[in-house]
């Protein structure tokens, strides 16, 4: 900006003149900063319900004791609120072998609200190849939800918890 100003002026420009131009520029720059700050504070004046930073929202996780690798897949992205949906849950051993005919219980809640899911979702069908159909899932609010699965296969049980953040 300074170069442009200088190039647009005669070469014999007096130093004091240059100084006042600089002051003008500084004042305008400062002004812009202030206006932008005011605008930004206006934008941020509303407070959305905060979700913990760095929440792990992976759709594929190792269960707590490392017995199963569990992955869910959903029909709609992003997950809509107030809509009944079914998921496919894939369960395999850590080395990638599908876990057949497991007993799976589903639960979930909103940690920040102290209430559970609005429905009682269940695994309704084993689809083969370690895939299970989970039906009856519904989320009635925006925000942070957890969905938990208790998985038992061949007398071994483990637990996995997925975090979901619903925005709309």
């Amino acid at each position: 900006m300074e170069n442009t100003t200088q190039s647009g002026r005669p070469l014999n420009l007096k130093p004091e003149k240059k100084g006042s131009t600089r002051r003008w520029i500084s004042a305008i720059q400062l002004l812009f900063v202030l206006i932008c700050t005011a605008a930004a504070s206006g934008c941020m004046s509303s407070r959305m319900n905060s979700v913990p930073d760095e929440l792990d929202t992976s759709t594929s996780l190792l269960s707590e004791n490392g017995l199963f690798k569990v992955t869910y897949s959903i029909p709609d992205e992003p997950i809509p609120i107030n809509t009944m949906q079914s998921w496919i849950l894939h369960v395999e051993t850590p080395d990638g072998l599908p876990v057949e005919n497991a007993q799976i219980n589903v639960d979930g809640d909103m940690p920040q609200h102290g209430h559970g899911l609005p429905t009682r979702p269940q695994v309704t069908e084993y689809l083969g190849n370690g895939d299970y159909k989970v039906e009856g899932l519904k989320f009635h609010m925006q925000g942070w939800w957890i969905v938990e699965f208790d998985i038992t296969a061949q007398d071994k049980s483990d637990h996995v918890t997925f975090n979901l953040v619903l925005t709309q």
Partner: protein, 435 residues
């Protein structure tokens, strides 16, 4: 240039600079955050939230698999007549429109509704309820048609019985009925009154009928409900100033947006979606999650204890007209709401359904027994979050200032708008005789 001259020139420039600084700063403040200029600055996340509440986000009317005539205009026409026909009551003076007045947003403005006698609950509006999986404050019905049948046999509402109604259909609506549902069974050998109701004569007559006869009568009764539901499905909310504001923001027409809402209303909108947490339950384009919540609403001392969803969930499971019943047209796999219903647990105690907030300012009193006569009192309740009379309230004190409460109320007024339904559906198909 002399040093003196230089200094005075510099001072002049500095003063001018400071003045310009103040002027531009004030302009910036006015544009971005002054209380006199409507705010249109929403970030991407906030815009997504606003869009989720916008009426334009309302999906097409969901199919109702439990009602095969739900979208048949002939059923809506029959339902329209039944809705306004006060012959369908014990005293000939109560119709659905007695408590769901079309000119009053399909509610009656009373704390407790009055049919034959006085009920224990406030009448809910039927506007936009075709989107809801549950009906009544406690969700004891799971379809619009099953809901419509409840008051007809309730002793303090219409006070009649299903056989009486079947005879009335046969006398006045036979042709229209048969066009939709096939031949109307011959009821000539049946008694005049019978039904599983409180009235002893009608109940004893009902008990003396064979199961097949009962099924015939109940089938006609269920079909009546399906016709009424076909009509009620058409009663939809229209856009409010809030919707025009969001729509203008979507077009980036900020000038048009500023003409829709005042700074106070926008302040209320920011609280609604933020600090006041209203949007937690009043979400989506109908401003309801259609679920159930205990918000610590006070009990009415002269009424029997109301357990809300705790009893409603059990009732819908046992309801003879639920989605899984023989009178429903659904396949069982289409009944996911009731299949995955939570029907027990402490959480359900005194949970009630949040009604849509569209037109909320036009329909006091509020809550399931009209406990609060103004929005001011409603917000005072949410702000203080008192303990629930039974069960556990989900609320936490909001600590909103008086000014913020006023902003919220201003915003709620911006949710009013005309119904999106053709005028003829809002008029009684009868003259004064059936009102």
């Amino acid at each position: 240039m002399s040093l003196k001259k230089f200094k005075s020139r510099t001072s002049l420039l500095l003063i001018a600079g400071v003045m310009l600084f103040i002027l531009l700063g004030a302009m910036g403040w006015i544009i971005t955050s002054s209380p006199w200029m409507p705010d249109v600055s929403w970030d991407e996340t906030e815009m997504a939230m606003l869009n989720s509440l916008w009426i334009g986000s309302l999906p097409p009317l969901p199919h109702d698999p439990s009602n095969q005539v739900a979208d048949d205009p002939r059923a809506a026409a029959l339902g329209h007549k039944l809705f306004f026909d006060s012959r369908f009551s014990r005293n000939g003076q109560v119709s659905c429109s007695t408590c769901h007045l079309a000119e009053e947003l399909f509610q009656d403005g009373k704390p407790l509704s009055e049919g034959i006698g006085r009920t224990n609950r406030r009448a809910m509006s039927i506007i936009g309820t075709a989107y809801s999986p549950w009906f009544f404050w406690d969700g004891r019905k799971d379809s619009q048609w099953a809901q419509a049948l409840g008051p007809l046999e309730n002793p303090v509402e219409h006070g009649g019985n299903r056989l009486m109604y079947a005879h009335l259909v046969s006398s006045y609506y036979k042709e229209e009925y048969q066009e939709l549902f096939g031949e109307l069974p011959d009821l000539s050998g049946y008694p005049e009154h019978a039904g599983p109701v409180e009235n002893e004569t009608a109940r004893l007559a009902w008990e003396s009928m064979t199961p097949d006869q009962q099924k015939v009568v109940t089938g006609i009764y269920a079909n009546m409900g399906k016709a009424i539901a076909a009509y009620e499905r058409l009663i939809m909310p229209g856009p409010s100033r809030f919707d025009f504001y969001v729509e203008a923001l979507g077009r980036k027409d900020f000038r048009a947006a500023r003409q829709q809402l005042t700074p106070e209303e926008i302040g209320g909108l920011r609280l609604f979606t933020g600090k006041a947490n209203c949007v937690q339950c009043h979400n989506g384009p109908l401003f309801t999650d259609n679920h159930f919540h205990n918000t610590g609403v006070p009990a009415v001392s002269e009424l029997p204890p109301d357990l809300g969803r705790s009893s409603g969930a059990r009732q819908v499971l046992a309801d003879e007209f639920n989605c899984l019943s023989p009178y429903s047209d659904s396949d069982p796999q289409e009944c996911s709401e009731i299949m995955f219903l939570i029907f027990e647990g402490e959480d359900l105690i005194r949970q009630f359904k949040p009604p849509s907030l569209r037109n909320v300012a036009e329909r006091a009193p509020y809550m399931h027994a009209g406990q609060f006569d103004s929005l001011e009192r409603v917000l005072e309740h949410y702000n203080q979050a008192p303990a629930a009379p039974l069960g556990h309230s989900e609320l936490k004190p909001l600590e909103l200032k008086a000014e913020e409460l006023e902003q919220l109320i201003a915003f709620l007024h911006a949710l009013s708008g005309p119904l999106d339904v053709s005028q003829n559906w809002l008029m009684s198909p009868y003259s004064t005789s059936s009102q």
